[in-house]
């Protein structure tokens, strides 16, 4: 099949002495929409920070293809991270810049393109997320959903191979969340990007997820892995089942034991 895009090898994450998750071992294939799920406070966002180079693991390694992320020098790490794009939970657009300037920022820094071409690219990325005409707006002048889409446009600025999303549909109405899901899926299809998503939005998980892991806060490790739909059908772990069914099957789980 396709070659692995991202491999997490025996990774333990901690804040100081406090272990968040230990012994994480999984692979993300090219073209996957990979979901990191789990209850609140289990370390989903922390895992994301380890993947995007913001927080070093206590032990273990993140492999981008054949390259190590954490045991490489800073320049290599920068080069690896240039091939990724991140959409933060609240968009994290720089508030003192217009949308076009936000998108132009990485382009101007990492490419040799002229100002006019950069402007065209910014308009194109905004058009992709349905925001044509909003180039000269400041983030504070548009709605939360639009900020999130603009954040996505910025994450895509450098045509990344891997896109990371932290709670993309948090704070969006169901219709907007569905549209964002569709957008993510079509971007994956057309750009050939790999998507890694932290979310606990069940509708999104089942609609677009092709692979997933489930982190557990009590045992501090991953307790399930696989396509979310199959996971729902086959899992016997009560925690995973409760999560995937919003706790509706509490009784049936007990009864089936």
């Amino acid at each position: 099949m396709s070659k692995p895009c991202l491999t997490i090898e025996n990774m333990t994450m901690a804040y100081g002495d406090f272990i968040i998750q230990r012994d994480l071992d999984f692979t993300i294939e090219r073209g996957d929409i990979f979901i990191i799920m789990g209850g609140s406070g289990c370390g989903k966002s922390t895992l994301l920070m380890h993947l995007i180079g913001l927080h070093a693991p206590l032990k273990g390694e993140v492999w981008y293809g054949q390259e190590r992320l954490w045991q490489s020098d800073a320049a290599t790490r920068q080069a690896i991270l240039k091939r990724t794009g991140v959409l933060f939970q609240s968009g994290a657009l720089l508030s003192s810049m217009t949308l076009a300037e936000n998108i132009a920022l990485p382009l101007a820094e990492h490419t040799q393109l002229g100002a006019r071409r950069i402007r065209e690219l910014a308009s194109y990325k905004l058009a992709l997320v349905g925001l044509s005409g909003f180039e000269d707006y400041y983030p504070s002048e548009i709605s939360g959903g639009m900020q999130k889409r603009a954040g996505l446009a910025r994450a895509m600025a450098l045509d990344p191979e891997i896109l990371f999303f932290d709670e993309p549909s948090a704070g969006l109405d169901p219709v907007s969340a569905k549209l964002l899901d569709d957008l993510i899926r079509s971007l994956r299809d057309h750009l050939g990007a790999t998507i890694v998503m932290v979310t606990h939005e069940l509708a999104s998980i089942f609609a677009i997820g092709t692979n997933s892991i489930f982190l557990d806060a009590d045992s501090k490790t991953m307790i399930a892995q696989g396509n979310p739909k199959q996971l729902l059908a086959t899992t016997v772990d009560p925690k995973v089942l409760r999560f995937l069914t919003r706790g509706d099957t509490d009784n049936t789980v007990d009864a089936s034991y």
Binding site: S95, E120, E135, G192
Partner: protein, 382 residues
Amino acid sequence: MTQSYVNEVLCKLDVTLHQETLEVSLVGDWVLEAKTPCLNALLTQMQASSGIKQVVFSTQSLGRWDSLLMTDLIRLIDCGQRQALIVNTSTLPAGIQGLLSLVYAVPERVGARRQLTHRSFFEVVGYMGLRCVKEANALVTFTGEVALSFWALIRGKARFRWVDLALNIQECGPSALPIITLISLLVGLILAFVGALQLALFGAQIYIANLVGLGMTREMGGLMAAIIMSGRTGAAYAAQLGTMQVNSEIDALKTMGFAPMEFLVLPRILALVMVMPLLCLYADLMGMIGGSLVTVGFFDVSWLEYLNRTASSVHLMDLTIGIIKCAVFGVLIALSGCLRGMQCGRSASAVGEAATSAVVTGIVFIVIADSLMTLMCNRLGV
């Protein structure tokens, strides 16, 4: 390594015209590192020749592509649509077609795009004038609201936490002492030195004590304390309230039935007004100590003489005037800090602007008020 790579990346555009159909062949790698051929010639050809009815693409020799190709295609398609040409994208790779359909899926919202408007000089002056009126209006409104909340305080109906008041006092009082000590000592030293150079010409070094004593109590002690506090506490107030505005904390307080003016602004103003006179007294003392260090150290005056001169030249009235001035400065600093904080927009840059403008407004107010009060004292003969 990358430099040579850039030069190797090649892409070009071949255009052939078959009767009414313009065939555009995309050749090579259309990636961001590539030097692209200029589209303008092609676009002019499309606009100029009326014979063209249709544009088709041929992609047999197209290599890699990314956003660079997309932006050029969008320009082509937009131009074609303006000329009412049929732009046939069906021969493009599926990925490109998918992205194009995304780009054109959401039509541009009418009226959303901003036009860059050029304003004439008079228009700019007019807008500045209007802004001044608005600012003045906001200031008066804010002062009124503060007055109302003080009235509520007097009637015992103001709702705020006394522990907030205590915290604010701690923050703007004792915590500020080190910097006040340093600056006031130095100001006293400077006053003494500058005065001494002139007075020594007449052998009147002993009068340095008068100069420093009166200078510190009537003017410099309060003024320096006020300027330090404006930079320290005024900016902090604006940043605190501004960040609360950004986080919707102020909205949350409103929904819980608290008046932000009473809950947030009142304890801050109260704290500063209570602390400023004390800081002023302290600054006066430090200034006099600074002056005495110079006088005793360099100009052959004993400690006792300096103390006696100071005691006989500085009257209670001088001290009171300085303290009253400083209390007024305290109100002004707290007002401008809180005003800018409450006016703050909802972004990180707005918080920075609020802090800056709090300090600027504070210092302007301080200087204006100081001039007015000095003039008043002069006319009243006190």
